[in-house]
């Protein structure tokens, strides 16, 4: 795998757009629905633990901020308004408020970033960093699924397997910190050669989660 291997394709599936943030590394994105895009994501495209990226430009340089879906929330403004409706199901347009506001929101934790370098039919990652990104995203920035190649490349910033975002992720993801880390480890297992180090880290994460939650004392 070279630094210039295309890891971002021009036709990567975009799954959501940024709508809000809870902090520097913790963003909320709204999943695209019918009518928003030609191709809308399906459930498996924004599953828990899905690695994603958002492209942004800083001082003229293109960068990809890499993150992971760690949380989701369903928004339903209709809840509690179950009275008789004026419209029939084929006349959605006439429901109160005129617009269907049911949403799926995703919690996305940023894990790090990489500079983008042109590559054949796409872009490659250079200067991968698992530090906290210093730049914020913008509202409406599209969130795309990160390919397996991108995921692999991101986890080998200097050739060696690294999950240096681990403690930040655990803090940002709070309740599901351990689970999202484990799901990333699971993906890494599938994407990389089996590494004994992953076993050690997995054991550590599991043990820490168990002690933190009072399962093991």
């Amino acid at each position: 795998m070279t630094a210039h291997e295309p890891v971002i394709g021009d036709d990567d599936l975009t799954i959501a757009s940024i709508v809000e943030s809870n902090g520097q590394m913790d963003y909320v994105a709204e999943v695209y629905r019918d009518h928003d895009k030609a191709t809308v994501p399906e459930k498996q495209d924004y599953e828990f633990g899905q690695p994603v990226y958002v492209k942004t430009t800083v001082r003229g340089e293109k960068r990809a901020l890499v993150g992971v879906v760690y949380e989701s929330r369903l928004v339903n403004p209709d809840q509690g308004r179950d009275g008789p409706r004026l419209s029939t199901p084929d006349q959605e347009l006439f429901v109160p408020g005129y617009v269907d506001e049911k949403q799926t929101l995703l919690g996305i934790a940023l894990l790090g970033f990489a500079e983008l370098a042109p590559a054949d039919s796409g872009q490659g990652f250079t200067s991968v960093s698992q530090e906290l990104p210093r730049w914020t995203l913008d509202i409406d920035d599209p969130v795309s699924k990160l390919s397996g190649a991108g995921f692999r490349r991101f986890h080998r910033p200097d050739g060696q397997l690294a999950l240096r975002y681990y403690d930040r992720l655990i803090t940002a993801a709070e309740r599901f910190g351990a689970e999202v880390t484990l799901s990333l480890i699971e993906r890494l297992r599938a994407e990389t050669d089996r590494e004994a180090m992953l076993d050690v880290i997995e054991r550590k994460v599991r043990w820490e989660a168990s002690t933190d939650r009072g399962v093991v004392r």
Binding site: Q160, L161, Y165, A196, M197, D199, V200, I201, K204
Partner: protein, 551 residues
């Protein structure tokens, strides 16, 4: 190895070296202990000396402290070490956990004190360093100058016995003021194979160098000290010779050793006899007292005749006594003439090695008792002006000291106790070397003001040291099991504070190497085998026909 270091000339040097090892964190468990935090990269070992600055009565002074314990404050979590196949450092790196130099140590140190130039020893500042104070390694020169309880300005000689253990090889010399331990006695204690006799030989070498020219007498039950003769060789001339001076080494072999009967006292004589009756004792007492008044030359025959003369009656007692006296004294070991000239035996610039290896333990004790008594009396007379036989101080080394001063009774014990308690006034110093401090008489051990203690693992021996040796603090005793051969704790009168030392190499060869058992066995078997075969082979060598009929 002829590079003999020069002792310091004063104590005016900076205490702290440039190496800052840590920062004081908090008081320690004991009143005189404090804890400092040191980065892992800095190697601070137990027994190392460190310095901090404090203010005593308005003056800033450097306080010396000894490191008593060092433990890791922080390291990688156990989960990182769960799989031996995966390097913990790699896991730490993968998770973005800093590792390596980030580890820190918690080091406990006990305050020794600041050096009081008037008292020439350490004074307790009676306060601990403030948290945040910087702790530096003590400088080599400073330690060299302040650890020995020596008066550098005077011309008193010092013995260079080795180097500070925790410092780089030969970085900081350890000197022992010879006057201090020669006057207040010395104990060399170590389990077998730890280098007792080696260390004692180093001390002897130092005491016979031109700067001190000691008069020494060594009781050598194993014949290990004859190699000291090497001091007279030309190759060591730069160390041991100065102008006309060359140390004399007088090795007295077992054949030459005699005990002068007139030097024995009544108690000695009695101890030699097989179960004498009360009547015999009484007769002998009278005879012995008369004889001692009459002559300085007493043989067995004289005693017997005197007994017979005094035994009015049927001569039964006298003849029974004669039989016993003959049995005990009619041996080559005993000479009738009293040793007149002690200066033949001991002289300044001379070490006399009495090889006692063919004598029984009883005879060794008796010889030691008679000789020590004689030497001690001569020293007392010389000091009082009654005689000038030994008008110079004397230092005696007793190898296997538990033989001569055992915990219990021995012929030589009373005189040794006397010399150890009173010898200082008469310039009679004693060095006791022993591998079993627990078998030494407790009074004898406690009278040895300076101790060189090497590896000791036996709990009884450690206990004996703990009880008898005042200067051996707990932290010193903790070191004893961990020392390796050639490493020693020097404590007591000669030192201001106990010092971990690596004993220097001897100039002369060492005479007490362990036997190489397997090679000896091989050699013995070869010669035995040859011997056996010779009986078989010999007949064939002759031209005569051999009878080959089976037996």
């Amino acid at each position: 190895m002829n590079d003999v270091p020069e002792p310091p000339t004063g104590r005016e040097m900076d205490a702290a070296s440039e190496t800052v090892v840590g920062t004081v964190a908090e008081p320690g468990e004991r009143a005189d202990e404090f804890v400092f935090v040191a980065p892992d990269a800095v190697d601070v070992r137990t027994g190392e000396f460190v310095v901090y600055e404090t203010t005593v009565e308005g003056d800033s002074c450097d306080v010396l402290a000894r490191v008593t314990n060092a433990e890791q404050e922080r390291g990688l979590p156990g989960e990182f070490l769960a799989d031996p196949g995966v390097e913990s450092e790699a896991v730490a790196d993968a998770l973005g956990v800093p590792s390596g130099d980030i580890e820190i140590d918690r080091v406990s140190a006990r305050v020794v004190g600041y050096f009081d130039t008037e008292m020439e020893t350490f004074a307790n500042p009676r306060s601990l360093p403030d948290p945040g104070s910087r702790v530096s390694l003590a400088s080599d020169e400073f330690l060299e100058a302040v650890l020995p309880s020596a008066d550098w300005e005077s011309e008193s000689a010092t013995a260079h016995v080795g180097w500070l253990l925790n410092r780089e090889t030969k970085a900081a010399n350890v000197f022992m003021p010879i006057d201090a331990f020669a006057a207040t006695h010395l104990a060399v204690l170590a389990s077998t194979g730890s280098g007792k006799s080696y260390t004692a030989s180093v001390v002897i070498e130092e005491m016979l160098r031109p700067q001190s020219r000691a008069a020494m007498c060594v009781f050598d039950p194993h014949g290990e000290y004859d190699t000291l003769d090497g001091m007279r060789k030309d190759e060591h001339a730069s160390v041991f010779q100065d102008g006309a001076y060359t140390p004399e080494v007088n090795v007295v072999t077992p054949d030459e050793i005699t005990v002068a009967i007139p030097d024995l006292n009544y108690g000695d004589l009695l101890a030699l006899l097989d179960e004498p009756s009360e009547r015999m004792k009484e007769l002998l007492d009278r005879a012995w007292r008369d004889l001692q008044k009459e002559s300085n030359e007493i043989g067995v025959r004289d005693i017997i005749s005197k007994c017979e003369a005094l035994d009015e009656g049927d001569h039964g007692t006298a003849s029974a006594l004669a039989w016993r006296l003959n049995r005990a004294l009619n041996r080559d070991l005993f000479a009738s003439a009293a040793r007149n000239d002690l200066t033949d035996l001991v002289a300044p610039g001379q070490v006399t090695v009495l090889q006692l290896n063919r004598l029984s333990e009883d005879d060794q004790q008796m010889l030691a008792a008679a000789l020590l008594r004689k030497l001690y009396e001569a020293r007392k007379d010389a000091m009082r002006g009654d005689g000038d036989d030994l008008d110079f101080p004397l230092f005696t080394l007793l190898e296997e000291g538990h033989r001569f001063a055992p915990d219990g009774s021995a012929r030589s014990l009373p005189i040794l106790r006397t010399i150890l308690s009173e010898g200082r006034k008469f310039g009679f110093g004693v060095g006791i070397i022993s591998q079993r401090p627990s078998k030494l008489d407790a009074d004898v051990l406690s009278q040895c003001g300076t101790q060189i203690i090497m590896q000791i693992q036996n709990p009884n021996d450690q206990q004996a040291i703990r009880q008898s040796v005042e200067s051996a603090g707990e932290d010193v005793l903790d070191e004893l099991p961990g020392l390796t051969p050639g490493q020693a704790v020097i404590a007591g009168d000669a030192m201001n504070t106990p010092v971990l030392t690596r004993i220097r190499e001897r100039h002369t060869n060492h005479g007490a190497e362990s036997l190489d058992a397997t090679s000896e066995w091989r050699d013995s078997w070869e010669s035995w085998h040859e011997e056996q075969n010779r009986g078989v082979v010999d007949p064939y060598e002759s031209d005569k026909e051999v009878d080959e009929t089976p037996l």
